[in-house]
Subunit: 353 residues, 2 copies
């Protein structure tokens, strides 16, 4: 005997049934979760190299951002001083050459692999770096771009966009668009990729919104890594991963201060600063990358859902134990090779030749 036989006539009662108690026995007013203090060990489920990265202490001075333009400039210069000496060895390991120049007045680096599969010769990737819209100028912008050029064996143009105090919102986006327009003159748009992480992930998405506004063609694929897709601090992982993520640490830390410095009074909910609120219909195939400890885990999965809801082909990669943007921390770490392998494969599958 059937447990339940569906009869179309019963449908008329559906409205009444909706008032029946749900499986979810919800209280009237949802309460906050009180979570006790914890000591969270470094997971044994990642490589020893990644364990070392996960085990690092919270970023120094995460809660003491600069308060003057000169202070921000000095912090940005300290990034350059730390990273620039590592670039030659990095470029050599990745077998790429790096050439600085300008494109229509915008500073860029062109990163060219020493060898390139035939299928990549008519392809190009535009890179927009991270750093909360204020940090990582010049050589400090290069590691992620070098890794993509190296692991994907394709040419990358890395945009060294203007940042405060040189210029404010939307200067970074303007510079990125200048390079985008040049890039779609060099290769068919379907052969072009755009990528970047953190502020660079947000800029990648903002570029698509701006391209739609300006009637420009979409590229073949994009790879926003852990994008700052909502700088209004909405998103559950801003709370759950606060003081767990050792890079961004807190929604009220240096990155929030930097973003406000860039926004310069502009509404932070503007989709050109918080692209999760934008109309993403018509976006190209997208691969997103984050980690389970990432303060922007929610920013990333919410963006993924917005893209999926709009019918976009969107692939989500979440790495065990990683905090913000650690998937491009060091090209010699197995999980970093893996993350760039995923992005390279996604580009290869979706870009024209």
């Amino acid at each position: 005997m059937p447990l339940f036989r569906f009869r179309p006539a019963l449908l008329a009662t559906t409205a009444l049934l909706l008032a029946a108690p749900a499986l979810a026995q919800a209280p009237a007013a949802p309460a906050a979760r009180e979570v006790p203090a914890k000591s969270i060990p470094v997971p044994g489920t990642v490589s020893p190299q990644m364990q070392a990265i996960i085990g690092q202490p919270l970023r120094q001075n995460w809660d003491k951002p600069p308060t003057t333009p000169e202070g921000w400039r000095a912090l940005a210069e300290s990034n350059v001083a730390a990273v620039a000496p590592q670039i030659p060895a990095m470029a050599e390991r990745m077998r790429v050459s790096i050439e600085p120049s300008t494109i229509d007045g915008v500073r860029v680096y062109t990163i060219t692999p020493a060898d390139m599969p035939a299928g990549n010769r008519n392809r190009l990737a535009v890179h927009v770096h991270g750093g909360c819209y204020v940090l990582n100028p010049r050589e400090a912008a290069l590691p992620e771009a070098i890794f993509l050029a190296g692991f994907a064996r394709m040419t990358v143009i890395a945009v060294d966009y203007r940042m405060p105090p040189e210029a404010y919102f939307p200067a970074a986006l303007d510079d990125a668009m200048t390079v985008y327009k040049a890039a779609i003159r060099r290769v068919p748009p379907a052969n072009l990729a755009v990528f970047g992480s953190s502020a660079g992930g947000a800029l990648t998405l903002e570029m698509m919104l701006r391209a739609k506004q300006e009637g420009l063609p979409m590229p073949g694929a994009i790879a926003p890594g852990t994008p700052m897709s909502d700088v209004t601090k909405q998103g559950d992982s801003f709370q759950t991963n606060a003081l767990v993520d050792n890079v961004l640490v807190s929604p009220d830390g240096f990155c929030d201060a930097a973003t406000r410095f860039y926004a310069n009074g502009h509404d932070l909910a503007d989709p050109l600063l918080s692209p999760v609120y934008g109309d993403v219909r018509g976006f190209p195939p997208t691969i997103l990358t984050t980690g389970t400890r990432d303060l922007l885990l929610s920013n990333t999965v919410r963006m993924h859902r917005a893209l999926r809801q709009a019918g976009t082909e969107a692939s989500l990669q979440v790495y065990e134990g990683q905090s913000h943007a650690q998937f491009y921390r060091d090209d010699r770490v197995p999980e970093v090779k893996e993350a760039f392998g995923e992005i390279a494969q996604f580009f290869d599958q979706h870009l024209g030749r």
Copy 2:
């Protein structure tokens, strides 16, 4: 002038350069992260219905599991008592009929949608329910199966497998395999899907390992939701989401006790209990679902990575703010419709007709 020109001759020095300081300035011994107590509000980034689910208190008696076979049986019966009265309304909303029977001695329910697209008429899905291998017998097993049948408009056979104290490891898997073998006689294996969540997600994966062992064909697609892919408690989110997830709550709670009751002394690291340690080469296209607060977030993303490393097409869906298995809590919640929409679309794209 180039910033760096790659010269092949320099490659000989790579070994030396590997000793150079990495971007990651790792300390010698990675330390645990000390995280202070927190009050985590219900996120505003999900529907009001999902906010109510997220705002529920921690599961009652999560840390007081039964200690006798009779106690476990009583708890399982209480699941049935809670869920069974809701089944008729649920089936009516989803427009499905439900018929209990047995297949080669195994108890099953066949769930048939009132209307079915022509493309689904020669397709079938086998469902294995969750409940830590001990809970959710009979009607309590049905909601997820009903939702898939309803949202995907395809026939589902839900396996009401034997559980302790009736039978122990590997009885659940044996029963599921009996139904699998019957299913691949009814439809071409490429037209068959297998799905389930939590213990059912693990069973879905374990069935693929067992099918490989027995030389059986793979199905067309599988959907393990938040799988218990590692019951040895490895995985970072067992710590980061402890006392954040309001369903499983803790790695040392009722679900661990239930799993040990089922394992009955068997090695928990056996891939037929912890499939993340299995050889997943040759697995079919797979869609995995989890939430940012899920205690098994790491279990899910580690399984996703294992599948990707094996070259499997594997799609990861992570939902904002959700704890363990809340993506199938109630068919009237927008995020539940969304999650089943993703699974239905994945099956439609990957199953034969």
